[in-house]
Protein backbone atom coordinates (compact mmCIF):
# COMPACT_ATOMS: atom_id res chain seq x y z
CA UNK A 1 0.00 0.00 0.00
CA UNK A 2 1.27 3.45 -0.88
CA UNK A 3 2.24 5.55 2.11
CA UNK A 4 0.25 8.80 1.80
CA UNK A 5 2.67 11.61 2.65
CA UNK A 6 1.65 15.24 2.97
CA UNK A 7 3.60 17.54 0.68
CA UNK A 8 4.85 20.05 3.25
CA UNK A 9 6.51 22.22 0.64
CA UNK A 10 3.10 22.88 -0.88
CA UNK A 11 1.44 23.31 2.52
CA UNK A 12 3.95 25.98 3.55
CA UNK A 13 3.89 27.60 0.10
CA UNK A 14 0.09 27.96 0.23
CA UNK A 15 0.20 29.39 3.76
CA UNK A 16 2.93 31.79 2.68
CA UNK A 17 0.85 32.91 -0.31
CA UNK A 18 -2.14 33.78 1.88
CA UNK A 19 0.16 35.87 4.07
CA UNK A 20 1.71 37.56 1.03
CA UNK A 21 -1.71 38.60 -0.20
CA UNK A 22 -2.27 40.21 3.22
CA UNK A 23 1.09 42.02 2.94
CA UNK A 24 0.01 43.52 -0.41
CA UNK A 25 -3.37 44.75 0.90
CA UNK A 26 -1.91 46.22 4.13
CA UNK A 27 1.01 47.75 2.23
CA UNK A 28 -1.20 49.61 -0.24
CA UNK A 29 -3.53 50.69 2.56
CA UNK A 30 -0.62 51.94 4.68
CA UNK A 31 0.90 53.84 1.74
CA UNK A 32 -2.26 55.99 1.48
CA UNK A 33 -1.07 57.81 4.63
CA UNK A 34 1.87 59.20 2.61
CA UNK A 35 -0.55 60.91 0.24
CA UNK A 36 -3.48 61.65 2.58
CA UNK A 37 -1.87 62.27 5.99
CA UNK A 38 -3.89 60.89 8.88
CA UNK A 39 -5.90 58.50 6.69
CA UNK A 40 -8.21 56.51 9.04
CA UNK A 41 -5.81 57.33 11.88
CA UNK A 42 -8.38 56.77 14.64
CA UNK A 43 -9.80 53.55 13.13
CA UNK A 44 -7.07 51.49 11.46
CA UNK A 45 -4.27 53.93 10.79
CA UNK A 46 -0.61 53.71 9.84
CA UNK A 47 0.38 52.71 13.39
CA UNK A 48 -1.37 49.35 12.96
CA UNK A 49 -1.01 49.00 9.19
CA UNK A 50 2.77 49.32 9.04
CA UNK A 51 3.37 46.39 11.42
CA UNK A 52 0.65 44.41 9.64
CA UNK A 53 2.39 44.94 6.32
CA UNK A 54 5.92 44.36 7.67
CA UNK A 55 5.00 41.24 9.67
CA UNK A 56 3.03 39.75 6.78
CA UNK A 57 5.99 40.36 4.43
CA UNK A 58 8.40 38.79 6.95
CA UNK A 59 6.16 35.76 7.45
CA UNK A 60 5.87 35.34 3.67
CA UNK A 61 9.65 35.13 3.45
CA UNK A 62 10.05 32.83 6.45
CA UNK A 63 7.24 30.48 5.40
CA UNK A 64 8.43 30.57 1.78
CA UNK A 65 11.99 29.75 2.90
CA UNK A 66 10.63 26.89 5.03
CA UNK A 67 8.67 25.58 2.03
CA UNK A 68 11.77 25.81 -0.19
CA UNK A 69 13.82 23.73 2.29
CA UNK A 70 11.00 21.15 2.55
CA UNK A 71 10.97 20.94 -1.25
CA UNK A 72 14.69 20.14 -1.18
CA UNK A 73 14.45 17.73 1.75
CA UNK A 74 11.61 15.86 0.07
CA UNK A 75 13.81 15.33 -2.99
CA UNK A 76 16.97 14.43 -1.09
CA UNK A 77 15.23 12.22 1.50
CA UNK A 78 12.03 10.91 -0.14
CA UNK A 79 9.23 9.91 2.28
CA UNK A 80 11.46 10.51 5.30
CA UNK A 81 10.02 13.78 6.58
CA UNK A 82 8.59 13.37 10.07
CA UNK A 83 4.91 14.17 9.50
CA UNK A 84 4.04 14.88 13.14
CA UNK A 85 6.88 17.35 13.55
CA UNK A 86 6.07 19.13 10.28
CA UNK A 87 2.34 19.38 11.10
CA UNK A 88 3.11 20.72 14.61
CA UNK A 89 5.51 23.24 13.09
CA UNK A 90 2.80 24.41 10.68
CA UNK A 91 0.15 24.57 13.44
CA UNK A 92 2.44 26.71 15.62
CA UNK A 93 2.93 29.13 12.73
CA UNK A 94 -0.83 29.37 12.21
CA UNK A 95 -1.40 30.04 15.92
CA UNK A 96 1.27 32.77 15.86
CA UNK A 97 -0.09 34.41 12.70
CA UNK A 98 -3.71 34.44 13.91
CA UNK A 99 -2.67 35.75 17.34
CA UNK A 100 -0.35 38.45 15.98
CA UNK A 101 -2.80 39.86 13.44
CA UNK A 102 -5.67 39.81 15.93
CA UNK A 103 -3.54 41.77 18.39
CA UNK A 104 -2.58 44.31 15.69
CA UNK A 105 -6.27 44.79 14.81
CA UNK A 106 -6.96 45.41 18.49
CA UNK A 107 -4.15 47.97 18.65
CA UNK A 108 -1.98 45.86 20.98
CA UNK A 109 1.75 46.25 20.43
CA UNK A 110 4.77 46.12 22.73
CA UNK A 111 7.52 44.72 20.51
CA UNK A 112 10.25 46.24 18.38
CA UNK A 113 10.28 47.48 14.79
CA UNK A 114 9.29 44.67 12.37
CA UNK A 115 8.28 42.50 15.37
CA UNK A 116 5.83 44.91 16.98
CA UNK A 117 3.61 42.25 18.54
CA UNK A 118 3.65 41.41 22.23
CA UNK A 119 6.71 39.18 22.92
CA UNK A 120 4.60 36.20 24.03
CA UNK A 121 3.62 35.67 20.37
CA UNK A 122 7.29 35.10 19.62
CA UNK A 123 7.12 31.80 21.53
CA UNK A 124 5.12 29.79 18.95
CA UNK A 125 7.42 31.13 16.19
CA UNK A 126 10.55 30.11 18.13
CA UNK A 127 9.06 26.66 18.87
CA UNK A 128 8.07 26.17 15.22
CA UNK A 129 11.62 27.05 14.16
CA UNK A 130 13.11 24.75 16.79
CA UNK A 131 11.04 21.86 15.38
CA UNK A 132 12.13 22.81 11.87
CA UNK A 133 15.76 22.71 12.98
CA UNK A 134 15.25 19.30 14.61
CA UNK A 135 13.58 17.96 11.45
CA UNK A 136 16.38 19.33 9.29
CA UNK A 137 19.23 17.89 11.35
CA UNK A 138 17.57 14.51 11.82
CA UNK A 139 17.52 14.18 8.01
CA UNK A 140 20.79 15.75 6.87
CA UNK A 141 22.91 13.70 9.28
CA UNK A 142 22.16 10.72 7.01
CA UNK A 143 24.03 12.29 4.11
CA UNK A 144 27.78 12.76 3.65
CA UNK A 145 29.64 15.30 1.45
CA UNK A 146 26.98 17.96 1.58
CA UNK A 147 26.67 20.26 -1.41
CA UNK A 148 27.03 23.95 -0.62
CA UNK A 149 23.27 24.58 -0.52
CA UNK A 150 22.89 22.20 2.45
CA UNK A 151 25.47 24.26 4.35
CA UNK A 152 23.56 27.39 3.38
CA UNK A 153 20.26 25.96 4.64
CA UNK A 154 21.92 24.86 7.87
CA UNK A 155 23.50 28.29 8.40
CA UNK A 156 20.23 30.09 7.74
CA UNK A 157 18.20 27.84 10.03
CA UNK A 158 20.65 28.07 12.95
CA UNK A 159 21.27 31.79 12.63
CA UNK A 160 17.63 32.72 12.30
CA UNK A 161 16.90 31.05 15.64
CA UNK A 162 19.93 32.67 17.26
CA UNK A 163 19.17 36.19 16.01
CA UNK A 164 15.45 35.80 16.74
CA UNK A 165 16.30 34.96 20.38
CA UNK A 166 18.94 37.73 20.48
CA UNK A 167 16.24 40.17 19.34
CA UNK A 168 14.46 39.59 22.64
CA UNK A 169 17.42 40.30 24.92
CA UNK A 170 15.72 43.61 25.72
CA UNK A 171 13.29 41.65 27.89
CA UNK A 172 16.13 41.50 30.43
CA UNK A 173 16.63 44.77 32.35
CA UNK A 174 20.43 44.49 31.98
CA UNK A 175 20.16 44.97 28.20
CA UNK A 176 17.19 47.35 28.21
CA UNK A 177 18.91 49.76 30.57
CA UNK A 178 21.95 50.30 28.37
CA UNK A 179 20.23 52.48 25.76
CA UNK A 180 23.02 52.53 23.18
CA UNK A 181 23.99 48.87 23.55
CA UNK A 182 20.29 48.01 23.27
CA UNK A 183 20.00 49.94 19.98
CA UNK A 184 23.25 48.39 18.74
CA UNK A 185 21.96 44.87 19.46
CA UNK A 186 18.61 45.69 17.83
CA UNK A 187 20.31 46.63 14.55
CA UNK A 188 22.90 43.88 14.81
CA UNK A 189 19.95 41.47 14.99
CA UNK A 190 18.14 43.06 12.05
CA UNK A 191 21.26 42.93 9.88
CA UNK A 192 22.21 39.34 10.70
CA UNK A 193 18.66 38.03 10.57
CA UNK A 194 18.24 39.24 7.00
CA UNK A 195 21.49 37.41 6.23
CA UNK A 196 20.07 34.22 7.75
CA UNK A 197 16.99 34.00 5.53
CA UNK A 198 19.12 35.09 2.57
CA UNK A 199 21.33 32.04 3.23
CA UNK A 200 18.25 29.77 3.09
CA UNK A 201 16.94 31.39 -0.08
CA UNK A 202 20.29 31.70 -1.91
CA UNK A 203 20.85 28.05 -0.98
CA UNK A 204 17.46 27.19 -2.47
CA UNK A 205 18.38 29.10 -5.61
CA UNK A 206 21.59 27.05 -5.83
CA UNK A 207 19.62 23.82 -5.33
CA UNK A 208 17.16 24.82 -8.04
CA UNK A 209 19.91 25.63 -10.55
CA UNK A 210 21.45 22.22 -9.84
CA UNK A 211 18.12 20.55 -10.53
CA UNK A 212 17.31 22.56 -13.68
CA UNK A 213 20.73 22.35 -15.31
CA UNK A 214 21.50 18.87 -13.98
CA UNK A 215 25.03 19.99 -13.09
CA UNK A 216 25.58 18.85 -9.51
CA UNK A 217 29.34 19.39 -9.53
CA UNK A 218 28.98 23.17 -9.08
CA UNK A 219 27.52 22.67 -5.61
CA UNK A 220 30.69 20.85 -4.52
CA UNK A 221 33.21 23.28 -6.02
CA UNK A 222 35.70 25.20 -3.89
CA UNK A 223 34.61 28.46 -5.50
CA UNK A 224 30.99 27.85 -4.45
CA UNK A 225 32.16 27.23 -0.88
CA UNK A 226 34.42 30.30 -0.94
CA UNK A 227 31.45 32.48 -1.96
CA UNK A 228 29.27 30.84 0.70
CA UNK A 229 31.83 31.57 3.42
CA UNK A 230 32.12 35.16 2.24
CA UNK A 231 28.33 35.51 2.49
CA UNK A 232 28.34 33.82 5.89
CA UNK A 233 31.10 36.14 7.14
CA UNK A 234 28.99 39.11 6.02
CA UNK A 235 25.92 37.66 7.76
CA UNK A 236 27.88 37.66 11.02
CA UNK A 237 29.68 40.97 10.83
CA UNK A 238 28.21 43.19 8.11
CA UNK A 239 25.60 45.16 10.03
CA UNK A 240 27.72 48.11 11.12
CA UNK A 241 26.29 50.42 8.45
CA UNK A 242 23.05 50.57 10.48
CA UNK A 243 24.84 52.11 13.46
CA UNK A 244 27.37 54.56 11.95
CA UNK A 245 25.61 57.50 13.64
CA UNK A 246 25.11 55.75 16.99
CA UNK A 247 27.55 56.75 19.75
CA UNK A 248 28.88 53.19 19.99
CA UNK A 249 32.50 52.22 20.45
CA UNK A 250 34.44 53.15 17.26
CA UNK A 251 35.73 49.58 16.74
CA UNK A 252 32.15 48.39 16.03
CA UNK A 253 31.66 50.99 13.29
CA UNK A 254 35.11 50.51 11.74
CA UNK A 255 34.83 46.73 11.76
CA UNK A 256 31.41 46.93 10.07
CA UNK A 257 32.83 49.31 7.46
CA UNK A 258 35.78 47.06 6.61
CA UNK A 259 33.66 43.89 6.47
CA UNK A 260 31.02 45.49 4.24
CA UNK A 261 33.70 46.36 1.68
CA UNK A 262 34.39 42.63 1.16
CA UNK A 263 31.05 42.51 -0.68
CA UNK A 264 32.80 44.18 -3.64
CA UNK A 265 34.24 40.70 -4.32
CA UNK A 266 30.69 39.36 -4.83
CA UNK A 267 29.82 42.35 -6.99
CA UNK A 268 32.89 41.91 -9.19
CA UNK A 269 32.17 38.18 -9.53
CA UNK A 270 28.64 38.93 -10.77
CA UNK A 271 30.08 41.20 -13.48
CA UNK A 272 32.78 38.63 -14.33
CA UNK A 273 30.18 35.83 -14.69
CA UNK A 274 27.72 37.96 -16.60
CA UNK A 275 28.45 36.62 -20.08
CA UNK A 276 28.35 32.95 -19.03
CA UNK A 277 25.12 33.55 -17.07
CA UNK A 278 23.54 35.22 -20.08
CA UNK A 279 24.45 32.30 -22.38
CA UNK A 280 22.99 29.87 -19.84
CA UNK A 281 19.86 32.03 -19.55
CA UNK A 282 19.16 31.89 -23.28
CA UNK A 283 19.08 28.07 -23.05
CA UNK A 284 16.64 27.92 -20.12
CA UNK A 285 14.64 31.12 -20.57
CA UNK A 286 11.46 29.17 -21.41
CA UNK A 287 11.66 27.63 -17.95
CA UNK A 288 9.51 29.65 -15.51
CA UNK A 289 11.46 28.91 -12.29
CA UNK A 290 14.71 29.73 -14.12
CA UNK A 291 13.25 33.02 -15.28
CA UNK A 292 12.41 34.01 -11.69
CA UNK A 293 15.94 33.08 -10.61
CA UNK A 294 17.35 35.28 -13.39
CA UNK A 295 15.14 38.15 -12.18
CA UNK A 296 16.42 37.59 -8.63
CA UNK A 297 20.02 37.72 -9.92
CA UNK A 298 19.36 41.04 -11.66
CA UNK A 299 17.92 42.42 -8.42
CA UNK A 300 20.92 41.13 -6.47
CA UNK A 301 23.14 43.17 -8.78
CA UNK A 302 21.11 46.38 -8.34
CA UNK A 303 20.62 46.06 -4.59
CA UNK A 304 24.19 45.02 -3.91
CA UNK A 305 25.37 48.10 -5.79
CA UNK A 306 23.07 50.24 -3.62
CA UNK A 307 24.14 48.45 -0.42
CA UNK A 308 27.83 48.91 -1.19
CA UNK A 309 27.39 52.65 -1.55
CA UNK A 310 25.24 52.83 1.59
CA UNK A 311 27.98 51.00 3.49
CA UNK A 312 30.49 53.80 2.86
CA UNK A 313 29.95 56.04 5.89
CA UNK A 314 30.51 59.29 3.95
CA UNK A 315 27.63 58.30 1.62
CA UNK A 316 25.62 56.69 4.40
CA UNK A 317 25.52 60.16 5.99
CA UNK A 318 23.21 61.21 3.13
CA UNK A 319 21.13 58.03 2.91
CA UNK A 320 20.78 57.11 6.59
CA UNK A 321 17.23 57.42 7.90
CA UNK A 322 15.89 58.14 4.42
CA UNK A 323 13.76 56.23 1.91
CA UNK A 324 16.95 54.95 0.23
CA UNK A 325 17.03 52.45 3.10
CA UNK A 326 13.39 51.56 2.37
CA UNK A 327 14.24 51.12 -1.33
CA UNK A 328 17.01 48.72 -0.36
CA UNK A 329 14.83 46.64 1.97
CA UNK A 330 11.89 46.58 -0.50
CA UNK A 331 14.24 45.84 -3.40
CA UNK A 332 15.76 42.86 -1.59
CA UNK A 333 12.56 41.43 -0.08
CA UNK A 334 10.55 41.71 -3.30
CA UNK A 335 13.25 41.61 -5.97
CA UNK A 336 15.40 38.87 -4.49
CA UNK A 337 13.56 36.93 -1.76
CA UNK A 338 10.13 36.91 -3.42
CA UNK A 339 11.52 35.99 -6.85
CA UNK A 340 13.41 33.01 -5.40
CA UNK A 341 10.34 31.82 -3.47
CA UNK A 342 8.23 32.12 -6.64
CA UNK A 343 10.88 30.16 -8.56
CA UNK A 344 10.79 27.38 -5.96
CA UNK A 345 6.98 27.40 -5.82
CA UNK A 346 6.65 27.11 -9.62
CA UNK A 347 9.23 24.35 -9.60
CA UNK A 348 7.27 22.47 -6.92
CA UNK A 349 3.89 22.91 -8.64
CA UNK A 350 4.98 22.44 -12.24
CA UNK A 351 6.18 18.89 -11.69
CA UNK A 352 2.58 17.67 -11.51
CA UNK A 353 0.73 20.39 -13.34
CA UNK A 354 2.32 21.68 -16.53
CA UNK A 355 0.58 24.90 -17.50
CA UNK A 356 -1.26 25.40 -20.81
CA UNK A 357 -0.10 28.10 -23.23
CA UNK A 358 -2.81 30.63 -22.34
CA UNK A 359 -1.76 30.66 -18.71
CA UNK A 360 1.86 31.14 -19.69
CA UNK A 361 1.00 34.25 -21.68
CA UNK A 362 -0.67 35.75 -18.60
CA UNK A 363 2.18 34.68 -16.41
CA UNK A 364 4.63 36.37 -18.77
CA UNK A 365 2.56 39.58 -18.62
CA UNK A 366 2.44 39.51 -14.81
CA UNK A 367 6.15 38.74 -14.64
CA UNK A 368 7.19 41.73 -16.72
CA UNK A 369 4.64 44.07 -15.09
CA UNK A 370 6.11 43.02 -11.76
CA UNK A 371 9.70 43.77 -12.82
CA UNK A 372 8.88 47.15 -14.38
CA UNK A 373 6.64 48.21 -11.47
CA UNK A 374 9.29 47.20 -8.97
CA UNK A 375 11.92 49.20 -10.83
CA UNK A 376 9.72 52.34 -10.80
CA UNK A 377 8.81 51.69 -7.15
CA UNK A 378 12.49 51.27 -6.22
CA UNK A 379 13.62 54.37 -8.12
CA UNK A 380 10.85 56.55 -6.67
CA UNK A 381 11.93 55.56 -3.14
CA UNK A 382 15.59 56.23 -3.93
CA UNK A 383 14.68 59.65 -5.37
CA UNK A 384 12.59 60.53 -2.30
CA UNK A 385 15.45 59.34 -0.10
CA UNK A 386 18.10 61.40 -1.87
CA UNK A 387 15.91 64.52 -1.59
CA UNK A 388 15.37 63.87 2.12
CA UNK A 389 19.10 63.20 2.55
CA UNK A 390 19.99 66.65 1.25
CA UNK A 391 17.29 68.18 3.46
CA UNK A 392 18.84 66.48 6.53
CA UNK A 393 22.14 68.24 5.86
CA UNK A 394 20.82 71.70 4.97
CA UNK A 395 22.12 74.45 7.24
CA UNK A 396 18.70 76.13 7.57
CA UNK A 397 16.34 73.29 6.90
CA UNK A 398 12.59 73.82 6.80
CA UNK A 399 10.10 71.90 8.96
CA UNK A 400 9.76 68.12 8.65
CA UNK A 401 6.15 68.47 7.46
CA UNK A 402 7.19 70.85 4.66
CA UNK A 403 9.92 68.46 3.56
CA UNK A 404 7.40 65.60 3.41
CA UNK A 405 5.09 67.78 1.33
CA UNK A 406 7.94 68.40 -1.13
CA UNK A 407 8.43 64.64 -1.47
CA UNK A 408 4.79 64.07 -2.42
CA UNK A 409 5.36 63.65 -6.20
CA UNK A 410 7.74 60.74 -5.41
CA UNK A 411 5.21 59.27 -2.98
CA UNK A 412 2.47 59.41 -5.65
CA UNK A 413 4.77 57.55 -8.07
CA UNK A 414 5.64 55.07 -5.30
CA UNK A 415 1.92 54.56 -4.59
CA UNK A 416 0.88 54.02 -8.24
CA UNK A 417 3.77 51.65 -8.96
CA UNK A 418 2.97 49.91 -5.65
CA UNK A 419 -0.56 49.23 -6.89
CA UNK A 420 0.61 47.78 -10.23
CA UNK A 421 3.24 45.79 -8.35
CA UNK A 422 0.55 44.45 -6.00
CA UNK A 423 -1.72 43.51 -8.93
CA UNK A 424 1.07 41.71 -10.79
CA UNK A 425 2.18 39.79 -7.67
CA UNK A 426 -1.47 38.84 -7.04
CA UNK A 427 -1.66 37.66 -10.67
CA UNK A 428 1.33 35.36 -10.14
CA UNK A 429 -0.20 34.15 -6.87
CA UNK A 430 -3.42 33.34 -8.71
CA UNK A 431 -1.50 31.22 -11.23
CA UNK A 432 0.18 29.37 -8.37
CA UNK A 433 -3.10 28.81 -6.54
CA UNK A 434 -4.68 27.43 -9.72
CA UNK A 435 -1.79 24.99 -9.98
CA UNK A 436 -2.22 24.09 -6.30
CA UNK A 437 -5.84 23.04 -6.81
CA UNK A 438 -5.45 21.53 -10.29
CA UNK A 439 -5.67 17.75 -10.58
CA UNK A 440 -2.22 16.21 -11.12
CA UNK A 441 -1.61 14.89 -14.63
CA UNK A 442 -0.87 11.18 -14.48
CA UNK A 443 2.13 9.96 -16.42
CA UNK A 444 2.11 6.48 -17.91
CA UNK A 445 5.32 4.67 -17.11
Amino acid sequence: MENKQTNFAKLFFSTAMVVLFGAIIYGIWAAISYIYPGFLKTQLGFIALRPMHASAALFWILLGATAAVYEGLNYLFPNQINQKIAWTQWALWVIAIVGIFTSYFLGQFGGREYWEFNPYWALPIALAWLLFMFQFFSLIRKKRNWPVYMYMWMTGIIFFLFTFAEGYLWLFPYFRKELITDLTIQWKVNGSMVGSWNQILYGSSFYLMDRITGNEKVGQSKLAFAMYFLGFFNLCFNWGHHVYTLPTEPYIRYFGYVVSMTEWIIFIKIIYDWKADWQQATIHLYNIPYRFIMAANAWVFLNLFLALFMSIPAINLYTHGTHVTVAHSMGTTIGINTMIIFAMAFFAYEKNNPRDLKEKIWLRRFFWTMQISLLVFWLSLISAGIQKGFWQLEANKNAFGDMMLNLKPWFILFFISGITLGISISGVLFQLLKAQFAKPIKTSN
Binding site: I47, G110, E116, Y151, P247, Q392
Partner: protein, 140 residues
Protein backbone atom coordinates in the same frame (compact mmCIF):
# COMPACT_ATOMS: atom_id res chain seq x y z
CA UNK B 1 44.56 17.24 2.84
CA UNK B 2 40.81 17.06 2.34
CA UNK B 3 38.84 20.32 2.46
CA UNK B 4 36.46 20.29 5.47
CA UNK B 5 33.89 23.12 5.24
CA UNK B 6 32.53 22.33 8.69
CA UNK B 7 35.78 23.57 10.31
CA UNK B 8 35.40 26.97 8.59
CA UNK B 9 31.78 27.03 9.69
CA UNK B 10 32.75 26.43 13.33
CA UNK B 11 35.52 29.04 13.11
CA UNK B 12 33.17 31.78 11.86
CA UNK B 13 30.51 30.79 14.42
CA UNK B 14 33.10 31.11 17.21
CA UNK B 15 34.16 34.54 15.96
CA UNK B 16 30.52 35.62 15.83
CA UNK B 17 29.85 34.48 19.40
CA UNK B 18 32.99 36.16 20.77
CA UNK B 19 32.11 39.42 18.99
CA UNK B 20 28.46 39.26 20.14
CA UNK B 21 29.38 38.69 23.78
CA UNK B 22 31.96 41.48 23.71
CA UNK B 23 29.13 43.82 22.66
CA UNK B 24 26.78 42.50 25.37
CA UNK B 25 29.34 42.73 28.14
CA UNK B 26 31.08 46.02 27.43
CA UNK B 27 28.56 48.84 26.98
CA UNK B 28 29.85 52.03 25.31
CA UNK B 29 31.33 54.79 27.39
CA UNK B 30 29.22 57.42 25.59
CA UNK B 31 26.30 57.49 28.02
CA UNK B 32 27.41 60.94 29.16
CA UNK B 33 27.19 60.34 32.85
CA UNK B 34 23.64 59.00 33.03
CA UNK B 35 23.02 57.68 36.53
CA UNK B 36 21.73 54.19 37.23
CA UNK B 37 18.29 55.60 38.15
CA UNK B 38 18.10 57.68 34.97
CA UNK B 39 18.95 54.62 32.89
CA UNK B 40 16.33 52.48 34.69
CA UNK B 41 13.64 55.14 34.22
CA UNK B 42 14.61 55.60 30.57
CA UNK B 43 14.22 51.84 30.03
CA UNK B 44 10.67 52.07 31.42
CA UNK B 45 9.98 54.96 29.05
CA UNK B 46 11.22 52.93 26.12
CA UNK B 47 8.65 50.27 26.99
CA UNK B 48 5.96 52.98 26.66
CA UNK B 49 7.49 53.99 23.31
CA UNK B 50 7.09 50.36 22.20
CA UNK B 51 3.62 49.88 23.75
CA UNK B 52 2.19 52.70 21.62
CA UNK B 53 4.30 51.69 18.61
CA UNK B 54 5.88 55.14 18.23
CA UNK B 55 8.66 53.50 16.14
CA UNK B 56 6.14 52.91 13.38
CA UNK B 57 6.51 56.58 12.35
CA UNK B 58 9.41 57.99 14.39
CA UNK B 59 13.14 57.38 14.50
CA UNK B 60 15.73 57.32 17.27
CA UNK B 61 19.23 57.99 15.94
CA UNK B 62 17.71 57.91 12.44
CA UNK B 63 16.53 54.32 12.93
CA UNK B 64 12.82 53.57 12.77
CA UNK B 65 9.81 54.83 10.79
CA UNK B 66 9.71 57.50 8.09
CA UNK B 67 6.37 59.24 8.51
CA UNK B 68 7.34 61.46 11.44
CA UNK B 69 10.47 63.30 12.60
CA UNK B 70 13.42 61.80 14.50
CA UNK B 71 12.87 62.11 18.27
CA UNK B 72 16.41 61.58 19.63
CA UNK B 73 16.87 65.22 20.64
CA UNK B 74 13.27 66.41 20.84
CA UNK B 75 13.74 66.99 24.59
CA UNK B 76 16.34 69.72 24.12
CA UNK B 77 15.40 71.10 20.70
CA UNK B 78 14.72 74.83 20.52
CA UNK B 79 10.99 75.51 20.96
CA UNK B 80 10.31 71.96 22.11
CA UNK B 81 10.86 70.23 25.48
CA UNK B 82 8.62 68.61 28.08
CA UNK B 83 5.47 70.70 27.66
CA UNK B 84 5.63 70.52 23.88
CA UNK B 85 6.05 66.72 23.93
CA UNK B 86 3.15 66.31 26.37
CA UNK B 87 0.88 68.50 24.24
CA UNK B 88 1.78 66.65 21.03
CA UNK B 89 1.20 63.22 22.56
CA UNK B 90 -2.13 64.17 24.11
CA UNK B 91 -3.66 66.16 21.26
CA UNK B 92 -2.05 64.54 18.21
CA UNK B 93 -1.45 66.16 14.82
CA UNK B 94 -2.92 65.97 11.34
CA UNK B 95 -0.96 62.73 10.80
CA UNK B 96 -0.67 61.41 14.37
CA UNK B 97 -3.62 60.30 16.50
CA UNK B 98 -4.04 61.63 20.07
CA UNK B 99 -2.78 59.10 22.62
CA UNK B 100 -4.41 58.54 26.02
CA UNK B 101 -1.33 57.95 28.12
CA UNK B 102 -1.57 57.79 31.91
CA UNK B 103 0.45 60.30 33.94
CA UNK B 104 2.93 57.54 34.85
CA UNK B 105 3.35 56.56 31.20
CA UNK B 106 3.90 60.10 29.95
CA UNK B 107 6.45 60.76 32.69
CA UNK B 108 8.28 57.56 31.79
CA UNK B 109 8.28 58.57 28.13
CA UNK B 110 9.72 61.97 29.05
CA UNK B 111 12.48 60.26 31.07
CA UNK B 112 13.33 58.20 28.00
CA UNK B 113 13.53 61.28 25.76
CA UNK B 114 15.59 63.12 28.37
CA UNK B 115 18.08 60.23 28.67
CA UNK B 116 18.42 59.50 24.96
CA UNK B 117 18.97 63.21 24.35
CA UNK B 118 21.93 63.11 26.75
CA UNK B 119 23.67 60.27 24.90
CA UNK B 120 24.45 62.33 21.80
CA UNK B 121 23.01 63.96 18.70
CA UNK B 122 21.21 62.43 15.74
CA UNK B 123 21.52 65.68 13.76
CA UNK B 124 23.55 64.63 10.71
CA UNK B 125 24.80 68.21 10.26
CA UNK B 126 26.86 67.67 13.41
CA UNK B 127 29.00 64.97 11.81
CA UNK B 128 32.17 65.33 9.79
CA UNK B 129 33.76 62.98 7.27
CA UNK B 130 37.19 61.51 8.07
CA UNK B 131 39.77 61.01 5.26
CA UNK B 132 39.15 57.22 5.43
CA UNK B 133 35.45 57.72 4.67
CA UNK B 134 34.23 57.17 8.25
CA UNK B 135 31.96 59.76 9.87
CA UNK B 136 32.47 61.12 13.37
CA UNK B 137 30.17 63.20 15.54
CA UNK B 138 31.25 66.72 16.52
CA UNK B 139 29.26 66.25 19.75
CA UNK B 140 26.12 68.08 20.75
Amino acid sequence: MQFKPIYFFILICTGFLVYSFSIYMYPPTSMNGLTNDEMTNAAEGKMVFQKYNCQSCHQIYNLGGYLGPDLTNCYSQEGKGELYIKAMVQSGTNQMPAFRLSEIEINALLQFFKAIDKTGSSDLRKFHIEPNGMIESNGK
